[in-house]
């Protein structure tokens, strides 16, 4: 396993070293002492596992296509933003805009996610074992958001085709968000996704798939229409 020690080095040097080790054929890299630095592991495009043994700052794993990230601590804003493929797992919590605009892959947050989780998602899956903050799923286009705990205000606002599941309470639904009864296959999907991505102990403390609420777009904002004036008034 390759190793990169962040102490005393700039982000540019750390990322260059990670890329150098990947070039030399490393398939697993331990990044020690990340010290909540911003922009660690940005734009990694290879199938490689990167373990960070502490907390990371903004945009960790941003713009990646393929790698696995395991973050032992918490993550700052824009975790894995615009990721195309791969998997990013955070043992702690994540700041604003986690998984924003991702097009594929999976983001797992084992504690809580702050505001604007999965905003403008275009694909992929985000799984939050804890709670999420304000405006999660805003303008989500595709992909799936799963929140095992409670969701904050303006949840799933102005969405296109992102599908959301919430295990706990929703403080307030966003404009044009509607709650649906999850189907049997939704429950199966939730059970298998949670079993696959969460450690057994953590999984045990979360609701069963059939107990989640499903939230989708009411499609009233998809096309300008005077009959939906009230909805538009809230959205614009």
């Amino acid at each position: 396993m390759g190793e990169v020690n962040c102490e005393g080095r700039s982000t540019q040097e750390i990322n260059a070293e990670i890329k150098q080790q990947i070039k030399k054929g490393a398939t697993e890299i331990l990044v020690r002492n990340p010290g909540a630095r911003h922009n660690l592991g940005v734009a990694i495009l290879e199938r490689v596992t990167i373990r960070l043994d502490g907390s990371v700052g903004y945009y960790c794993g941003g713009l990646i296509d393929g790698p696995n990230f395991e973050i032992a601590g918490s993550a700052g804003w824009g975790l894995a933003e615009s990721m195309m493929n791969g998997q990013v797992v955070v043992r702690g919590s994540a700041g604003n805009g986690a998984a924003a605009a991702i097009r594929g892959g999976t983001v797992v947050i084992q504690q809580d996610a702050a505001a604007r989780l999965g905003v403008s998602m275009k694909g992929g899956t985000v799984l939050v074992a804890g709670n999420c903050g304000y405006m999660a799923g805003f303008m989500g286009q595709k992909g799936t958001i799963i929140v095992c705990g409670n969701a904050g205000e303006a949840f799933a606002d102005s969405m296109y085709e992102t599908v959301c599941f919430v295990g706990g309470r929703i403080s307030e639904l966003g404009t044009d968000a509607v709650v649906e009864q999850p189907s049997g296959s939704d429950a199966e999907f939730l059970d298998s996704t949670l079993a696959h991505h969460l450690p057994p102990d953590l999984r045990k403390s979360k609701p069963a798939g059939r107990d989640f609420k499903k939230i989708v777009s009411g499609r009233k904002l998809w096309n300008f229409d005077k009959r939906e004036w009230k909805t538009w008034q809230e959205a614009l």
Binding site: N15, G62, G78, S82, G97, K226
Partner: protein, 443 residues
């Protein structure tokens, strides 16, 4: 006035407030229940100071002109020297602005790329990502990163020659993009990960940063993603330009793009086009002052956009402090926009050649702003590319002509002292003496 009234020698007195256009506007809103959306940019008669309120002061005895055909006048333009290891090097200072594939047809996008490349200029992607053919046909391609992140793709980003982080546009600062359902075809929906036929709105804010402090980190992320090679542009609509430009420069932008209120658009609410932002002339002056104020004038390059029509506007923008200009609408017009072809189709849209601003409908009679395969066919890519190249060449010749007449061997040496103001407003805004007075008004 009807013929009958004219025969009777009677004139009609319209209300000064509720003029016929206002009456029509109110009644349309009453019928549709929607605010008005259209393309093209402001339709107002400009009563504010514009580039037309300035005139050049060519050499006579105080300064010596260059010989038009013999003495060199450089147009080479370098952008992004501040941090990038590979700044953009263009042969001319007139560039094609970001217009999305979706707002524009495939043929228009490819023609712009080819035409710009033929004369050593650049092309820019748009809200919807990069088109493969656009990359293949662009010598220099700027990749926009917009709030919507439609079509965002790290591989495309890494194939670009510069990144443009877009905060806003001149036609509608503070709001997101718009693409009406008639243009969200199968192909465009796939490219943007959207359902076919939706009236697509884009968010106004980026999903992963809010203010200038976060933007510093965002810019670093973009540099990491592109190995610190390509310049990072920051584009903004012109509102509080003096402060916004300083913030962008301090956040680490290599190049700042300021798009004035005359800026064009594929589709926006009409009131935003008419009543938001400040004019391009005012914007360039504030932007320059901002860069001077923070000691970064010359180090951070400035691109000005918004209603640039010809080499004269470009030369005036450059004399006031721009390193280069972006053109959008003028390039579309060179492609054939508003040309008297397929006149029946203009009439079906309720307009005439020369008056069209119907890009939002997706029924562009000349194949420029449509996704309809039949309409798109009307724009022959090779011929259109040739027209773009010719237009860019002429614009460049016009800038050079003015620069030579002012005694400059490089178009970038044009300066405010090369001009006089023709109105008090322009004098005050630009800090240039009003012609005939030797006085700068407003100071």
């Amino acid at each position: 006035m009807s013929d009958e009234l004219q025969r009777q020698g009677r004139t009609l007195q319209p209300s000064g407030i509720f003029q016929p256009a206002v009456i029509e506007d109110i009644q349309t809103k009453a019928e549709t229940g929607l605010y008005r959306i259209r393309g093209f940019g402001t339709l107002r008669q400009r009563r504010w100071a514009t580039f037309d309120d300035l005139t050049f002061l060519p050499c006579s005895l105080t300064r010596i002109p260059l010989e038009g055909y013999r003495e060199k006048c450089s147009t080479a333009t370098v952008l992004g020297k501040r941090h990038a290891s590979k700044p953009i090097r263009l042969d001319i200072p007139v560039m094609i602005t970001g217009m999305s594939w979706g707002a524009l047809s495939y043929n228009a996008k490819v023609a712009l790329a080819r035409g710009a490349s033929a004369v050593g200029s650049s092309n820019t992607t748009g809200d919807g990502g990069m088109l493969q053919a656009e990359r293949e046909n662009s010598k220099t391609l700027i990749y926009e990163v917009l709030p919507s992140r439609y079509g965002i793709n790290v591989h495309d980003m890494r194939r670009a020659d510069a990144i443009e982080l877009t905060i806003g546009q001149g036609a509608k600062p503070g709001t997101g993009g718009l693409l009406l359902g008639s243009k969200v075809s199968d192909t465009i929906a796939r490219q943007r990960d959207l359902p076919v036929g939706v009236d697509q709105r884009s968010p106004a804010r980026h999903p992963d940063f809010l203010g200038p402090d976060d933007m510093i980190i965002k810019i670093e992320e973009l540099r990491e993603a592109t190995d610190y090679q390509v310049p990072i542009f920051v584009k903004m609509g012109a509102s509080r330009v003096f402060d916004d430009v300083k913030l962008a420069a301090k956040a680490g932008a290599d190049v700042i793009v300021v798009d004035g209120m005359e800026g064009g658009t594929g589709a926006s609410p009409a009131i935003l086009q008419e009543h938001t932002g400040i004019p391009t002339l005012a914007a360039v002056c504030e932007a320059r002052a901002a860069l001077e104020d923070c000691g970064l004038y010359g180090e951070v390059q400035l691109i000005i956009a918004g209603g640039i029509r010809d080499g004269v506007d470009a030369a005036k923008a450059m004399a006031l402090g721009a390193d280069a200009v972006y053109i959008g609408t003028a390039a579309l017009i060179a492609l054939n926009c508003n040309k008297a072809l397929y006149v029946d189709d203009y009439q079906k849209l309720g307009t005439e050649p020369g008056f069209c601003h119907h890009c939002h409908t997706g029924r562009c009679p000349v194949g420029v702003t449509t996704q309809d395969p039949e309409l798109m066919q009307r724009l022959d890519i090779d011929q259109a590319a040739e027209r773009i190249a010719s237009f860019l060449r002429v614009m460049t010749l016009e800038v050079q002509m003015l620069a030579r007449a002012c005694g400059k061997s490089d178009v970038h040496d044009l300066e405010p002292e090369d001009m006089a103001a023709l109105s008090l407003e322009a004098s005050a805004i630009c800090g240039i003496p009003l012609s005939g007075t030797r006085k700068i008004f407003g100071i």
